[in-house]
């Protein structure tokens, strides 16, 4: 459980950080909180030549709440989201999801950008990014680009980030007043990775569900958006029949993995149950 040897750099600017990443052609990794990366290094699942620490970079730890949405800098830590009183109104779904991230000590170090770039299919932040159609700001040797969350996640622990690119910020679309939402996940112990989880929100138009967004974690090789389930619910009243139809559509639209934590059929049943509960909870 000792890490393989690597070089370490702690640049002062993002340009320097990008240049350092580019200098090792794919054998350099970014470290910030290190709460996902250091375990990977400890297990020697990753053995980069160089770690580029974002510690000294300025301006990546802002939480901005504006009319065009909520922006979180890549270095924003989970504990900062938890403590931010304005976020509770500006994005209650985000705050509730982040309450489920790991444990107290890890929430003091782990960052938004780290979780997104690590891209664990069961992680909460990628799930929220997918559910809410977030945009990701990325800087690399070729300049800046913006990626949609739906294009960013490529598979388990795999993203669109090039070896010389750094994720700098995530932007969540504005949260409408009166919006209904729920976030539920199930893990064997508090703070563990979810076996399955669901995030959803919608608006009410004339007593019917409008523009529902449903995301699922832990049931695929990446966080999933359940478009087929959304299609079943949009324009309908949220009643028992609608919930039953949604659960059926969810069961048919996922193909979860089997591993030591749970077989595929268990995950499918769990997600269906969580979805039904989340829909009921959102209506209260």
């Amino acid at each position: 459980m000792k890490l393989a040897a690597f070089d370490y750099a702690s640049p002062a600017t993002i340009e320097e950080a990008v240049a350092l990443l580019a200098s090792r052609s794919g054998n350099a990794k970014i470290i910030s909180g290190g709460q996902s990366l250091v375990p990977m290094l400890a297990f020697r699942l990753a053995a980069p030549e160089l770690l580029v620490d974002l510690k000294q970079l300025q301006g990546l730890n802002r939480i901005d709440i504006a009319e065009d949405g909520v922006r979180l800098g890549a270095k924003v830590r989970w504990c900062e989201i938890e403590r931010n009183e304005r976020l509770k109104g500006a994005h209650p779904l985000l705050v509730e999801a982040i309450r489920h991230v790991a444990h107290y000590q890890i929430r003091n170090r782990g960052t938004v950008g780290g979780s997104l770039a690590h891209a664990d299919p069961a992680a909460e932040m990628p799930g929220i990014a997918i559910t809410s159609e977030a945009e990701l700001m990325i800087v690399g040797s070729k300049g800046k680009r913006i990626d949609k969350a739906s294009d960013f996640f490529k598979g388990s622990l795999s993203t669109s980030l090039a070896p010389d690119e750094i994720l700098t910020e995530i932007k969540l679309p504005p949260w409408l007043v009166g919006r209904r939402w729920a976030f539920l996940e199930f893990a064997l112990r508090r703070g563990d990775f979810a076996i399955a989880g669901v995030a959803l929100y919608y608006d009410m138009v004339g007593g019917n569900i409008a523009d529902i967004h449903i995301g699922a974690i832990g049931v695929g090789d990446r966080p999933l958006r359940l478009h087929a389930v959304e299609a079943v619910l949009n324009g309908r009243k949220l009643d028992d029949v609608a919930i039953e139809d949604a659960a059926k559509a969810a069961r048919e639209s996922i193909d979860p993995p089997s591993d030591i934590h749970a077989p595929a059929e268990y995950r499918r049943a769990l997600l269906t149950t969580l979805l039904a509960r989340a829909l009921r909870q959102s209506a209260v």
Binding site: F6, Y8, I31, Q35, A42, Y104, N108, R109, G191
Partner: protein, 158 residues
């Protein structure tokens, strides 16, 4: 690489490989062995220390990342003359048996109560869920932390 930080109120400097974790640095280089290492991958909480007042897992921080930071270990939370209120409460409630996990519980509980001296039982349970103990069954630990709260409310402990 040279790394220089504050450990339990004293400035320390040592030469480490970048791959050395803060936990190994504290134990093997600086010989403060109160911080215990069990899982070494961020699951058990035994190695919890405070960095700038916040509880963190020292096995998931590189020693070089502690440059210029303020690190407090379980050694920094004890007094020569007597047990601290938190230590006394652990003793009174039999909140340890083998004691291996105890430094992690003490540092975590200290960080929590310093910031939230009014933490209720649910909050204490939530926070301590990041620490594993194979002896006590946890209930005595929760009782001890609940009892130690009053000392933090009165601010007579640091």
């Amino acid at each position: 690489m040279k790394v220089n930080f504050e450990l339990n109120g004293k400035r320390v400097e040592t030469d480490v490989e970048p791959r050395m974790t803060l936990a190994d640095c504290i134990r093997d280089h600086l010989r403060q062995t109160g911080t215990h290492l069990a899982c070494e991958h961020g699951v058990c909480g035994a190695c919890t220390v405070l960095v700038n007042g916040e509880a963190v897992r020292s096995c998931l921080i590189l020693a070089v990342q502690a440059q210029d930071e303020r690190v407090l270990t379980v050694e920094g939370l004890s007094r020569e003359e007597a047990l601290t209120p938190l230590q006394s409460a652990f003793r009174k409630h039999h909140a340890l048996q083998c004691g291996f996990c105890t430094p992690g519980f003490i540092t975590t509980a200290h960080a929590l109560l310093t910031e939230e001296p009014e933490a209720d039982e649910d909050r204490i349970r939530e926070v301590l869920s990041g620490n594993l103990c194979r002896c006590t069954g946890y209930l005595p630990i929760i009782e001890a932390v609940l009892e130690a709260r009053s000392a933090y409310t009165h601010k007579d402990d640091k």
